[in-house]
């Protein structure tokens, strides 16, 4: 049976890059049992392996796009690629946007694929979340939970 994943991408040791993992931590235990919550480093091949098994993926990642820190945006990537300025912070050259486009090219992108991005401010090793980013983490968790529960999709604004 095809699965549903909520995937928080990032590195907890790199300041605001912890936004994705922090969102999935907050969602743990609050979602229907069949929804699987995954913390992920963002490596392309292993993301693709998750996409292949999924009917729906919800991805959360930090980004640096020039928007004010803590800006939360939602993208329906099943409909269109991530905008080019959504450069995700990855330790490798092949990250989230490449994984999404590779999955689309190979016909492996789940029919429901949604990305929440949170604009980061500082990615200093060992730093904690910036206050504005921490607030966005709470908002993202709430919106994502509502979207998954399909309770209040209207409140989630598409970017």
């Amino acid at each position: 049976m095809k699965r549903t994943f909520v995937i928080g991408i990032g590195n907890r040791q790199r300041g605001d890059d912890a936004a994705g993992p922090d969102v999935v931590s907050r969602l743990c235990g609050t979602l229907p049992a069949q929804v699987e919550v995954v913390e992920h480093g963002g490596e392309m091949a292993s993301l693709l392996a998750l996409f292949e098994q999924a009917a729906a993926v919800y991805l959360v990642d930090a980004c640096v796009s020039g928007a004010p820190p803590g800006t939360l945006r939602r993208f329906d990537v099943a409909a269109a690629p991530l905008p080019s300025e959504m450069t995700t912070v990855s330790t490798h050259g092949l990250g989230l946007s490449e994984a999404i486009e590779m999955a689309r090219t190979l016909g492996q992108l789940p029919a429901r694929s949604v990305v929440y991005v949170i604009e980061g401010q500082s990615f200093e090793p060992g730093a904690s979340l910036a206050p504005t980013v921490a607030k966005a983490v709470i908002n993202a968790s709430r919106q994502l939970r509502l979207e998954i529960l399909d309770l209040d999709k209207e409140k989630v604004t598409d970017a």
Binding site: G41, E43, M44, A45, S46, L48, A49, T91, H92, G93, L94, E98, E101, M102, T105, L106, G107
Partner: protein, 431 residues
């Protein structure tokens, strides 16, 4: 005077940040420089004052592609300093973990980074539009390597289960058996990979490299051996610094390593293969032969073929280890800290990786030296550019620039390790 400059400011499909510049005057290359501008990360300094036992988890952070290599050279050097030797199933489990890294790292480079050069695509996603089955094969192969890493290392990247003296936890035989089916399939995929890359067109260029790699009396080298060269060098790992020197060049934040007489040398798949061909299982030698390879390959553009041979070897070796595995009684040898100097060298996917540590009596690290493979290959990469570019000057600018990038990517350079990404300047004079 005609003058041409080829500039690549940000070379894609390499790990890390760097650039290169080639200057041509009247049809002759006058300079070829690889510059690495990734900020240095001072890992050797931050190891000072830490406990010997912390080192494998710190050095694993040097690279997300080859963390196992860093852990393996670290534990070998520490164990050398502390006077212990890891043998039997623990040694084999380390070798199995290393096979996982070779499979995932080589599959990444073959399919996603290097193959687009041979098939004329800007990148793997473009290539996947026309070669979807091949890319799926590459991803499945990489995933098999990741599966080994996750089972033995605790997770796919930056494993957390390796310690000085062994592991924190060793798997039960039945756990490893679950990998066997994946690896049997991976071996078939590796066979298909070798046949696929054997069909590529390779520029016919060779150089008389000084190959440097580990050699071992019985095994194709991964986690241990003596250091040997194609020019007769045969030394213990503890003699490394007597024969190889690191120097600083202004254009690079990574040190460049050369032989003590100043000559360049090559580490990595071509060197390992040339110095250890007879240590490959007969089935792998046969597959290499069928792919058109002799026992020595001096054409750097064919490094993709040798990587494919090594993936096949790694699948076979992993299956052999899993079949013979009996879980050891203890996950690690007990260690009593003592003062000492230890040396370690293992074969990262990109080549020889040397570590040396000096310890206080309580096992605190006094100093550390780490020489990654890309530091050692920098001089060779520059010489390849200088030697080969002249013969490609009839190519139009865009094709010439691309050929230069391909020449650098032959080495699967991991600039992150050596200090991360590449920039090309090609100056061939005015037309």
């Amino acid at each position: 005077m005609t003058r041409k400059t080829i500039k690549v400011s940000y070379l894609a499909r390499v790990e890390g940040e760097g650039a290169f510049s080639v200057v041509v005057r009247n049809g002759k290359v006058t300079s070829a420089e690889l510059s690495i501008f990734e900020p240095p990360r001072f890992f050797e300094s931050l190891l000072r004052g830490r406990a010997f036992s912390e080192a494998p988890d710190i050095t694993a952070r040097i690279c997300g592609i080859c963390p196992v290599a860093y852990q393996m050279s670290t534990v070998q050097a520490m164990e050398n300093a502390l006077g212990i030797t890891v043998t039997g199933p623990l040694r084999n489990l380390r070798r199995l973990l290393y096979c996982g890294e070779w499979i995932e790292s080589h599959a990444l480079h073959i399919y996603l980074l290097h193959a687009p050069d041979f098939l004329g695509y800007a990148g793997a996603i473009d290539m996947a539009r026309d070669h979807g089955d091949a890319v799926r094969r590459g991803l499945a192969l990489k995933k098999a390597g990741n599966d080994i890493m996750a089972l033995l290392g605790g997770r796919e990247i930056h494993p957390i289960n390796v310690r000085v003296g062994g592991f924190y936890r060793v798997p039960h035989r039945r756990e490893l058996a679950t990998l066997a089916e994946t690896l049997k399939r991976a071996r078939e995929l590796a066979d298909e990979t070798l046949r696929w890359v054997a069909g590529f067109d390779f520029p016919e260029r060779e150089r008389d490299y000084t190959f440097v790699a580990l050699t071992h009396s019985e095994d194709y080298p991964l986690s241990e051996g003596r250091i040997a060269s194609s020019r007769g060098l045969d030394i213990g790992v503890d003699q490394y610094e007597d024969y190889f020197l690191e120097t600083h060049v202004a254009r690079s934040t990574a040190l460049q390593s050369r032989l003590s007489d100043g000559a360049s040398y090559l580490v990595g798949p071509l060197a390992r293969y040339a110095l250890n061909f007879d240590r490959l299982p007969p089935s792998v030698r046969q597959a290499a032969h069928e792919a058109g390879l002799g026992p020595v390959c001096r054409n750097p553009y064919q490094s993709i073929l040798v990587r494919a041979v090594e993936v096949l070897f790694a699948c076979e070796e992993a299956l052999r280890i899993i079949e013979a595995y009996e879980a050891p009684e203890q996950a690690a040898i007990e260690i009593t800290p003592c003062a000492g100097i230890g040396h370690g060298a293992t074969e990262a996917p990109r080549g020889l990786l040397y570590h040396r540590y000096r310890l206080e009596p309580d096992g605190t690290i006094i100093d550390a030296k780490i020489v990654p493979p890309t530091s050692q290959n920098q001089a060779c990469i520059e010489e390849d550019l200088a030697n080969f570019v002249e013969s490609f000057l009839d190519l139009p600018d865009e094709a010439l620039r691309h050929r230069c990038e391909q020449t650098v990517r032959n080495y699967d350079p991991c600039i992150s390790c050596a200090t991360h990404f590449l920039r090309l300047d090609m100056d061939r004079g005015s037309p």
